[in-house]
Symmetry: D2
Subunit: 287 residues, 4 copies
């Protein structure tokens, strides 16, 4: 049986009872948010999980991220997890991957538009605005290959070479296997983006190996492949309908979900990058 | 086994082999478009088909309506079918139902925005623009109950009483049972809108009985209920996942599909309402 | 010298020194907001001011409404002024006039989309959501004649006849004479909308006389006619450039201004209509 | 008297009667489009015109670019002029400058979205789609400094170093001095973008000198500075109103104008870059 997921947690759940060598897992709950950690320690673990070596942290809400209130504890944990993965100082480049014209793939670009970019704000200006010392941040939405003719990985390599950031944060919409994880879950990983992942099936790896700086990937599942859902419902001898391959399963309120998830992820990142500013000030600054 | 569909054709397919009394069916293919007709002649037929008495014409393309080229024969047949259902003269009110902020429900409002409204154009102005005599047309997007506090049926009753059109055309996004009909099919019917139909589950009947003038409904299936798809894959003793009820299955290119389907349906209607204008002129007039 | 303004305050400023009979004026400042009142008491005053009989309250901020913080006192005064003009009980119909596709004319429709519509929420539902007793509110965006073929006044008459609201609130983008009033000012009046006013030059009167219920108009100037600005700069013997007639003067940040002004006006109205809910709860309810 | 314009033609018009050394001018009319050429041959000319050395071609329509029909001859001349400036072979990078959220500055990004990107389409794929041999084209919208923290010039340098295109085409919205040139004019130049030009006052030079490859700039004036218009109306001893500095003068139909101008410029570029494809095929490919 074949299914598709971008969540390390779901790959882990599909492994048989006996734990694969090289995979460590942990779980706890904070303020109603379930935090699961999957650490892939070596190539044996990577082969078993079909995920690169690295740490994968999944934050799960009990319900959809469609209200500002429900998402607040998630925002705080997102900030905290990011801080544990990021270098303490230096410029951060944030890239929102995906196609803004395809709703479930628009998370990245919408999120990038809500990141507080500060790299161009001089210390004097920042002080005169009462903002104190700001960490330099750049934020871009590189678009998608079909519309630009440029691989996302190519553009990020070029820009990273030019800006020399301390790290790169990439935001992307993901595919999950389980319906209940769509719009309720955030995955953070220090392993970057693997080929073929994301709603748009990004083609090239974006990682420390390819861009030369640490890459933290932040993703929210926004779809389930219709073929994956069909496959999960069928017995071994049945096959999914042919048309399912070009279909996806999304929440009925997907447009609202994308708006709220972009806001939640962006604010989690903004809080991690500018710890001296209050959430309220950050909200005013990004509008 | 329970499934949901707004297509009379799919209700008809689900009926057992022996034809129900009071239902007539026909089928032919023109320029690659399959035309199926289901006529519900009496209450026996209506009860069997769970659809009001009336004529239902379904136009099916072999592929998605995502290119202008493929949709041209569909546009022509849409125009022809509409002309067979509409009164020959008099003002036509066109209403695009649905929520413009929810992609698969946005067909109606997007379509209404592309209808060539002419009711306010005087004969002199029309003549001076070289447009000849225009049929009076009004076009509105009434919004949805959750955002306006006004039932679509209420607003249409009020407006119909005021404008006294010869007929009302309502456009709505539909739910289909079969994945292959999403984005490839248009249904036209002279029975109006039944309660609970459309992607947004409109609550009230919109028909000659309720608004006082003939009502032609034009719909394009844009989703399959995830619960319906799950139900179709499962055997009798299995049940669909609980979360499926708040999910829908759509094509991956749903945003593009909605743009193209709105354009196709709007142009089919424009051509039927202004037969003296060329398709090219209509395209320039609605932009 | 001819100029165009939709603000009673600016018409009043242009009157010669000796006060016209039938016009009363007042002014005070609250929390940094200048509140000017012009009351047109009879036809002599109406003829002098070229505005219908009624009360016109203008709220002026010292700076553009482009930050949430600056607009808060304005929101509170807007709420207070509205409460003084509205009937104490009964359903309120809110209509956002204008064309959502023309940025400086989009204030009305954008504002209507942010009104908390409650007319369809039953007392039981409201109680179960912890919202207490809600005043019934309907909110629509009727579109513009050029796109719908229906006069705004016609649609509002039809809907008012059907819904029998206690009052109608119409929101519209206005033209000012002075650059400094664009985006810094809100005008409220109990005289409704006069023919030829608004950015879109609405053609018909919308007032108690025409729709049969009290009409409160709320407007924000978003443009200055280029011909008006030119006229103000020129001496009596000069004439404005011909092309100025099809041009308008707007702030460079007009897109941002419209978003913020729509939010400010909508929240002022929401607070006046649902006084039992906090501003914070209202913000969550309209998203 | 100080005024602002990004058009070499308007700088030239402001020069006194005796022709400056180092500036050549020419003019002709083709299919109703007035073609003016200003060539700055040396530093004397550059100092007089306040424009870098290079060739500036201005195409002027008799009326606004708000209908597809009127813009067709413009499209053809744009294509022809571009072909005279571009290298005959090699990859072309197209960059749409500006802020998509500010209507009169959105020309560049909207145009970039309509460029047919082909760099990623292999010869086999192209042949199998019946498109023949395509010139490699990449198309991006780099965003604006205030939102990304990255200078447009920085990003274009980085990307040009990576992709090694034969030339760079930059598209930008311009400020004109004369109202009648807004929305009716296209300027093409082989001198790139000078500091301080464009609606957004881009800060850095983008030219062969800075990015290392030929840079063709294509611009459409979408605004007049309100201070420039005021200055032109006033006598020498008067001063423009203070508020005029943060205002701009635009056509009332600016939103429509931007859509049409983006389409016209994009199609002119597409036709120049893919001369083997028909305009009709290109239209279908970019949607």
């Amino acid at each position: 049986m074949i299914f598709r997921t971008d969540l390390a947690l779901e790959q882990r759940e599909a492994l048989s009872g006996t734990e694969a060598h090289g995979i460590l897992t942990g779980e706890r709950t904070v303020n109603g948010v379930r935090i699961s950690t999957v650490t892939v320690r070596n190539q044996t673990g990577a082969a078993a999980l079909k995920k690169p070596i690295g740490k994968y942290v999944t934050l799960e809400l009990p319900s959809m991220m469609t209200s500002a209130k429900a998402a607040e504890p998630l925002q705080a944990l997102l900030c905290e997890t990011l801080l544990s993965m990021l270098p303490k100082t230096g410029c951060i480049l944030v890239a929102g991957l995906g196609n803004v014209q395809i709703t479930p793939d628009a998370l990245g670009p919408k999120c990038a538009a809500l990141i507080f970019a500060t790299r161009h704000i001089s210390g004097e200006l920042s002080a005169s605005l009462g903002l104190g010392t700001l960490r330099p941040v750049a934020a871009i939405a590189p678009g998608v290959l079909g519309q630009t003719g440029v691989e996302t990985a190519e553009l990020l390599c070029a820009l990273t070479a030019r800006l020399s950031p301390a790290a790169l944060i990439v935001i992307d919409a993901l595919a999950a296997r389980r319906l209940e994880r769509v719009g309720t879950t955030v995955q953070l990983t220090d392993s970057g983006i693997a080929p073929g992942s994301g709603v748009g099936n990004r083609r090239f790896e974006i990682s420390r190996r390819t861009v030369g700086v640490p890459v933290i990937a932040v993703g929210v599942p926004t779809v389930v492949d219709a073929a994956t859902m069909a496959g999960d419902l069928l017995t071994e001898n049945e096959t999914a309908p042919e048309n399912a391959r070009r279909m996806m399963v999304t929440p009925k309120e997907i447009d609202l979900l994308i708006e709220h998830a972009a806001q939640t992820v962006a604010m989690g990142i903004n809080r991690a990058l500018q710890p001296t500013l209050s959430a309220e000030d950050l909200l005013l600054l990004i509008k």
